[in-house]
């Protein structure tokens, strides 16, 4: 930028044109009036042709002002840096009159002239408040709209491009499974013959037998009196007494060979007395006796306990082991009046504490009595 010219009575601010031959400045007169000044540069001042052109342009502006034209305000063509000043009035072509011949002054530099015009006219950033016309405000709004719309449009386009690139870069979907699919084979038909084993017929509800004498299998001072509760719905071919309502029956299962039951005391993690019962149907006493060995081996395996070894009578065998724990077992062949059929019954009792051995013996003796 050239040095701001110093002309008495005027102060200059913004330089509108910085041309090698001349500069155009915006400024104020001492009265506050806005002015535009054209000041020749050192090169311009030294060039006689340029000086003459300025003198000619100034003369025309001073002598032949047209309508709606602001006259030339001041000029000094003989100064070291000759200048011409005109008023800058909105809507009036004062500056233009200075600028129109300016191209002649600075040698047909059209782009420089246009730049000055643009900055005088439209650029709201360079005009003062009172000089800012509706045109400038509209241009400002347009720029702000561009500031919003352009990044938005660019974002949307870039988003689509990114998404498309992602899709293009994605691995192609596999067409064949990692493990080959075997051919479907014509299946064998689902069997039509029953595959389950025949179940043991249900015994139904079997009543307690109160009219039979007590027949102890193991010697005990304790009697059924210890057993307060009657239990009839065991799914077994006989009913029995249990010590109290805190006992419960566990239906282990019914195989085709035998029914298995377990009696435990509710809420006790290490039950004081455990009772296991098995019942195997047989056609008659001879059949029961023939099945006894296999039955003993099966129920002792399923329920735990020692098979009964000592014969009490022709239909009853027992084992007893005193001590801690107390363990006793019994196998008995009997004909159930409820089912009207023969059964082999296996029972095992175990008492963890010696004080409970009496209870265990009473349960075993009760089963013997009920299978009389």
């Amino acid at each position: 930028m050239s040095t701001t010219p110093e002309i008495t009575g005027y102060t200059f601010g913004e330089q509108l044109l910085d041309h090698p031959l001349a500069g155009v400045w915006r400024g104020e007169a001492a009265s506050g009036m806005e002015v535009v000044a054209l000041v020749l540069s050192e090169t311009g001042s030294a060039d006689q042709t340029v000086r003459e052109r300025l003198a000619e342009a100034s003369r025309t502006a001073a002598i032949e002002p047209g309508e709606a034209e602001v006259p030339l305000w001041a000029a000094n063509l003989s100064a070291t840096r000759p200048y011409a000043i005109t008023q800058l009035a909105p809507g009036y072509s004062g500056a233009e009159r200075l600028l129109d011949p300016l191209d002649g002054v600075i040698g047909n530099d059209q782009s420089a002239i246009e730049e000055v015009r643009r900055r005088l006219d439209g650029d709201p950033a360079t005009t003062d408040d009172h000089a800012e016309g509706p045109k400038g405000k509209a241009a400002g709004r347009k720029l702000w709209a561009v500031a919003v719309i352009v990044p938005l449009v660019v974002f949307i386009v870039a988003y689509s491009v990114g998404a498309a690139v992602n899709t293009a870069a994605a691995e192609p979907e596999p067409t064949a499974p990692k493990v080959p699919v075997p051919d479907a084979v014509q299946p064998n038909p689902i069997p039509s013959k029953k595959i389950m084993l025949p179940g043991i017929p249900k015994a139904g509800t079997v009543p307690l037998r109160n009219n039979v004498p007590q027949v102890p299998v193991v010697t005990s001072r304790d009697t059924t009196a210890l057993l307060a509760t009657q239990w009839e719905n065991l799914g077994l071919p006989f009913a029995m007494h249990i010590p109290g309502k805190t006992w419960q029956l566990v239906e282990l299962e019914e195989s085709s060979y035998s029914i298995y039951r377990q009696m435990v005391e509710i809420g006790s993690t290490s039950p004081a007395v455990q009772v296991g019962v098995a019942a195997h149907p047989c056609t008659d006493l001879a059949d029961c006796l023939a099945d006894r060995a296999e039955f003993d081996s099966r129920w002792s395996k399923r329920l735990g306990g020692t098979p009964a070894a000592t014969a009490r009578d022709g239909q009853t065998w027992f084992s007893e082991r005193a001590g801690t724990p107390y363990v006793a077992s019994m196998t008995r062949a009997f004909r159930s009046p409820a089912t009207k059929s023969w059964w082999l019954v296996g029972a095992t009792v175990q008492a963890e504490a010696p004080t409970k051995a009496g209870l265990a013996r009473a349960v075993l003796n009760d089963i013997r009595t009920q299978t009389s």
Binding site: V150, P182, L197
Partner: protein, 184 residues
Amino acid sequence: MQSRKLVRGIAVATGVAALAGFGIGFAAGQSEKPEDLPVARKLPTDLCARLGDVSALFPGPAELQQTGTGEIRCTAQSDEATQPTHTSAKLIIAFRTYATRAGSTAADVAREHFDAESWPVLPNRPYPTKLRAQPGGEEAWEIGLVTTRGDLVVEITYTASPIDQAAAQSAALSVAEKAVWEAR
């Protein structure tokens, strides 16, 4: 100058918008159209009936009841309470088909579900098969079986008492093969 600053601001914002747009667009990828979303193969609505008579697996007559649409279940049961003897059986056949997933065919997805089952593999079967036999007593068995072919996984649970393990397993296997055939 203010207008220059604004123009420069627009240029910077445009650049940022371009980068962010590309980045977010790449991360999100193109949205799937509903009609392009993978769907699992639909199984026949009369699938359970097609399996035929399964009464042999039960103490008495039994009929498979079909439930479900996404996963079809065929269930038949003989409750012990309804039987004159101590016998009970229950059969559940569950069919599931799987849809493709990004990077996997439907068969791969089905295979993953099959592989997730920890039961032992039963070799020399027409389809990959896993079987577990759990004893419930002297002659009580629960047979768990899972098999897969293509996009299909069939899971069978057969619980019966009294029954031999071999008979229960063989029945479950023949039901499984029939099930795969009917749902192929």
